[in-house]
Symmetry: C2
Subunit: 350 residues, 2 copies
């Protein structure tokens, strides 16, 4: 396998459309991106799906037995199935044979496997799942974390989420001076529930976090914020709502647009433009969420992921690898004066 | 004033566009709806806005002095300004001169004034703000409560929200067998934060609540649920996000649709249909949120409300009056065998 290409372990057996769609997405990634993929799962089955392309120099098949089903309790299942694909994929990162894991399987199991097999980054108490949402500003995304890892958060977890999100925004999304917001129900610092009020104080006091204040629900997609922190309960509800609302809107457009003769004619003329609108609203374009705070890059895809989402999830992992997200977070917490620390600090001065 | 028409006190001074837009919306309501409006505020100013129409038999001007500003602390301000428009409007309900209050002013102040002047319904520990959201099913709305009254909730508050929402859904929205959901991050009963897990038990155990289980973020607009309960922190973030996301989507449509020559032509042909899409996505159509649990009907409008929103807010109040929402909630808690109790119970049997 090529040595400068990012090496990504893909859980071929996780997800509603596994392994067919996962394998197809992974194959495309090896062809179009600078990545080598280690496909983890049922080798005979993967080989029959790949055909002659199983010989690609950028693809390696790694055997695993079984998969964690969606209705299984993660910790119990991970223990009972040590050779399950998600366990084997995490081990590849631990053994440094891969730099990242991509899975569209049971997200709780992926998180638990990452915690058990890779552990946390020193300085981070709890992991967070970060999701990218498009904003009103074309080409600009906001990273929201946590969207489902930890439902009952302490204020210091949110402070840590803010640091990890800032690193991501700065180095992967290339935002010069990231702006961090706390998801809340009003602009004033005293607003919100107990967690929000206490987290606000911590965020405001930490001069290495470029905190600009509370972000209300209406501000999430405004483009005013680059990073938004919240507990995993609120974040998960918001994310799932955001994903579904695009569908609702598209349906309204589909119902109303072709009404009447002029409507039918006009709609026919607009087909390519409507396709572009669907693309901008479609969550498949975003590919998944990143698990922050564990000692490895893990991208968690939707259970419903098809090949294009898997392709995007692999690209998402590749970007995190290429921009050394892990090292930069570690460096922040090791308090040395290397890149990570110094530049996160600089963002707050700007 | 006509005796069978609903009598609604409107806070003419509250809101960014007060009193002009409030007065205009109220005037239209007296003309098109079966309501009498008591306009509360600066009488000379209201009279000059109304001109000859100040003499309408369905309009009464009630003097007030001052208004609670958006940056004021509600309790302090309400005390310092006993003659502020929102205080006077609530007093009209207390004196039974009006049956409802509509205000687009400081929503915290409206809630505090309602609590102080009208008190709570017996059996209700905390009020809730309920908002109607459109769903994927044409013509069907879901009522979400609480969207901002109480940020740190106890499980029993959510149980009470469920009862009030069920009454509203059944009698005002005319849903034969309302389905109640608990906003949560997964389908299983054990999911969620501490509040959600405990509230789930209470809701499941109360056989007078037609509880069908957890509603995830993606289910809010699906039309599968008629009533969704949550704490005011999550609900407020969700509501404000939902309102803003419509704008984001419309902007994407506006940007992408007219691209190219065919795009321009097609878009021109679709003007009336696009207007209808905007209408379905526009929150102004919904008119506001209802304050539940206080001993009076109170509709809280957006600060940015213009005349059409005020008109809709007045209609919203009228519907709650006409369908005797207050009496039905009271009747549930007084445990007698009248309409309210018996029929909420029946909904659970269906």
């Amino acid at each position: 396998m090529g040595s400068t290409r990012a090496k990504i372990a893909v859980d071929a057996m996780g997800g509603d459309r596994a392994p067919e769609e996962i394998v197809a997405g992974a194959l495309r990634a090896t062809e179009e991106l600078d990545v080598d993929v280690l496909l983890v799962g049922d080798c005979p089955r993967m080989r029959s799906l790949l055909g002659t392309r199983a010989d690609s120099p950028h693809l390696e098949l790694v055997p695993a037995e079984g998969v964690i089903e969606m209705d299984e309790e993660p910790l119990v299942a991970l223990k009972r199935k040590p050779e399950a694909s998600i366990n084997v994929a995490m081990d590849l990162v631990k053994q440094q044979r891969a730099e990242a894991v991509v899975s569209a399987g049971h997200s709780g199991a992926a998180m638990a496997a990452a915690l058990l097999r890779l552990g946390r980054i020193k300085g981070i108490d709890r992991p967070a799942i970060g999701a990218l949402l498009p904003t009103m500003v074309a080409g600009k995304s906001v990273i929201v974390l946590d969207v489902g890892a930890i439902v009952d958060c302490r204020p210091k977890y949110l402070e840590q989420f803010a640091i990890m999100g800032t690193v991501y925004s700065k180095y992967v999304l290339d935002v010069n001076e990231p702006k961090v917001g706390l998801l809340n129900i009003g602009e004033e610092s005293s607003k919100g529930n107990d967690l929000a009020a206490r987290a606000h104080k911590l965020l405001a006091a930490n001069e290495r976090i470029p905190f600009i204040g509370n972000a209300e629900g209406r501000d999430v997609l405004s483009g005013e914020f680059d990073v938004i922190v919240c507990d995993g309960f609120v974040g998960n509800i918001l994310l799932k709502f955001a994903e579904a609302v695009g569908e609702v809107m598209l349906q309204i457009v589909r119902e109303e647009l072709p009404q009447g003769l002029r409507g039918q004619l006009g709609t026919a003329m607009l087909k390519p433009n409507l396709r572009r609108i669907k693309q901008r609203m479609d969550h498949a374009e975003h590919g998944g969420a990143l698990l922050f705070g564990v000692a490895g890059i893990c991208v968690i895809g939707h259970g419903s992921s098809q090949a294009p989402s898997i392709f995007n999830a692999i690209r998402f992992a590749q970007e995190a690898i290429d921009h050394r997200v892990l090292e930069r977070i570690r460096s922040y917490y090791s308090n040395d004066c290397e890149a990570g620390t110094a530049t996160v600090a600089r963002a707050t001065d700007g």
